[in-house]
């Protein structure tokens, strides 16, 4: 079969690789009909996430048709159309029983690596380094889905791939980020980053009833897309983020702040950004936490910081005194996708939201390598790429 394979920093190739096979009785083999390039794939592309090996198949946002099921898999049958969450879950461990699916205790088959990197292992993830299991990803013609009797979400007839594909990652990620904010009708929610996850954060916060939602970025077409849903725009190239947020909140700051940027925050000319770049260049810091610092500083006392943006390692010069003294609450983590999928699927069916709004580029899988660059460099107004194997 054909797949997109990681060959090193900034090098992804379209390769012929062996077809996947059923390995465990709960497995399923999925023929991928649509897959997407996620912002967090760019952290792999740019070489910021450790644990990748040459030839690894990328992709953790995908859906398709069930081609084969293992002997103990009673949930799926051949021909079912499913979206596969990017977190692999067993459904039986202590964490899964609590709904903390992204920290499933059993699905990371490289548990020792996970324990070493994070203290305790997190769930296995598709196509996302050997620290999270080294599972082949979904930017391929076929995928082996482990524990396929609990994770995959069956899709009813009448919905297109484009409407439901993002149930596997970015839609529940944006939704969870907003849910973690415990939004009230008087809240101002500030969202840093108008990429795909930021776009879903904006719409989720609006659906949850926030008084005003503010989006912060410097890419005009992304700001325009967020404004289309009703967000107030701050272009950090033109305005001071702190001044504008204080203006919009009568000097009190937003109650809820969402970091939809993560470890590759682009320098804005501020001193801390230059500091991060310099430290990262000499490998004294792995992540660039400009957004975190800004959120901790501007957030209203007793507010909530929600962090769906991915961080990978060590950060520096965090104003923790401000966070402690203001009594801020931090909520973060990879998405517990299956917590939210039924509810979000219902909302799509009812027409409350159509996630296909975010797709700007659709192409065959063979064009994946070039579209990674297009997405990374935001060329051609690219916001979200969908690939068709």
């Amino acid at each position: 079969m054909k797949a997109l394979c990681w060959q090193g920093k900034h090098k992804i190739t379209y390769e012929t690789v062996p077809d996947p096979k059923i390995e465990e009785p709960r497995d399923a083999i999925i023929k991928v009909s649509s897959c997407a390039i996620c912002g967090s794939d760019l952290h792999l592309f740019d070489g910021f996430m450790p644990g990748m090996e040459v030839g690894d198949i990328l992709g953790h946002e995908f859906m398709g048709e069930v081609m084969e099921v293992g002997s103990e898999n009673k949930k799926l049958k051949v021909g079912d159309r499913v979206v596969v969450p990017f977190t692999i879950i067993c459904g039986a461990c202590d964490q899964c029983k609590r709904g903390n699916f992204s920290v499933c205790e059993r699905t990371n088959r490289n548990k020792a690596l996970g324990d070493t990197a994070f203290g305790h292992t997190t769930a296995g993830l598709f196509g996302y380094s050997h620290i999270t299991g080294g599972y082949p990803g979904g930017q391929a013609e076929y995928v082996r889905v482990p524990y396929a009797d609990v994770g995959p979400v069956k899709i009813p007839d009448g919905l297109t791939d484009e409407q439901v594909l993002f149930l596997g990652d970015i839609f529940p990620t944006g939704w969870q980020a907003a849910a973690y904010c415990e939004i009230e009708s008087t809240d101002t929610v500030a969202v840093w980053g108008a990429g795909p996850v930021g776009q879903f954060c904006v719409r989720s916060a609006i659906i949850m009833g926030a008084k005003q939602v503010v989006i912060i970025d410097n890419v005009p077409e992304r700001l325009t897309m967020a404004a289309a849903a009703g967000a107030i725009v701050i272009n950090f190239d033109d305005d001071s983020v702190l001044d504008r947020l204080n203006e919009l909140t009568q000097g009190k700051g937003p109650e809820k702040c969402i970091d939809a940027v993560g470890l590759e925050a682009h320098a804005t000319g501020s001193l801390d950004s230059i500091y991060d770049r310099a430290k990262q260049a000499v490998m004294l810091e792995s992540d660039r936490p400009h957004v975190l610092r800004e959120m901790m500083y501007v957030c209203r006392p007793a507010g909530i910081l929600s962090i769906p943006g991915v961080y990978g390692g060590l950060i520096d010069k965090i104003p923790f005194g401000a966070a402690m003294n203001k009594g801020l609450t931090f909520r973060m983590g990879q998405t517990h996708v299956n917590r939210w999928t039924d509810d979000l699927l219902r909302r799509i069916q009812e027409g409350q939201i159509d996630p296909s709004f975010v797709i700007t580029h659709t192409a065959g899988l063979e064009r994946g390598p070039e579209l990674y660059e297009t997405f990374r460099d935001k060329k051609d107004s690219c916001i979200k790429v969908v690939l068709k194997p």
Partner: protein, 171 residues
């Protein structure tokens, strides 16, 4: 932008700036001797710190254009200093002449790079596609908020959804 030749040239200029600045700070006397000047170690050191700052700025920022223009301004100061040193009493006038040509060449490169990179940034910041019709929601923000206010979604409902899903999924 980060894969363009212009950006790579800019980073090269950044490293060059840091290297030259470091030499100027550590060994201002050697620079002076090279161009035949007898005094002004403090000036050379100051130039060195300026070079390091510009180089650091270029390497640190995703859009290094302002620091490239800072280099162009710095080049002009360097050229003025070299012209002042290019007098008949200078025993190494030939070296000074060569330095003037070298700095002029680097100035041209800095200028062209800053201009090209500025144009690329401007192009990137210009919206090329109009996404103003991509709300993705069933109604306006106001109507969606009104739906929320009427109880179609509250935080506690979200929690219930979670619990229901957990019960269904776990084995």
């Amino acid at each position: 932008m980060q894969n363009t030749l212009t950006y790579k040239v800019a980073r090269g200029l950044g490293w060059f700036s840091v290297a030259l600045g470091t030499v100027e700070v550590i060994a201002p006397g050697a620079i002076n001797r090279l161009v035949g000047a007898r005094e002004g170690h403090a000036f050379i050191r100051a130039f060195g710190f300026r070079e390091i700052a510009a180089g650091g700025g270029i390497l640190a920022l995703s859009n290094p254009t302002p620091w490239l223009w800072a280099r162009v301004a710095g080049d002009a100061i360097d050229l003025a200093a070299l012209v002042l040193a290019w007098d008949s009493r200078n025993p190494r006038r030939g070296n000074t002449t060569a330095a003037i040509f070298a700095v002029a060449g680097v100035t041209a490169l800095d200028f062209l790079c800053a201009r090209a990179l500025g144009a690329q940034v401007e192009e990137r910041q210009r919206p090329r596609r109009d996404y103003s019709d991509r709300a993705g929601l069933a109604g306006t923000a106001e109507t969606m908020r009104a739906s929320a206010a009427s109880g179609f979604k509250t935080v506690s409902q979200g929690t219930n959804v979670r619990n229901k899903n957990v019960a269904k999924i776990t084995r």
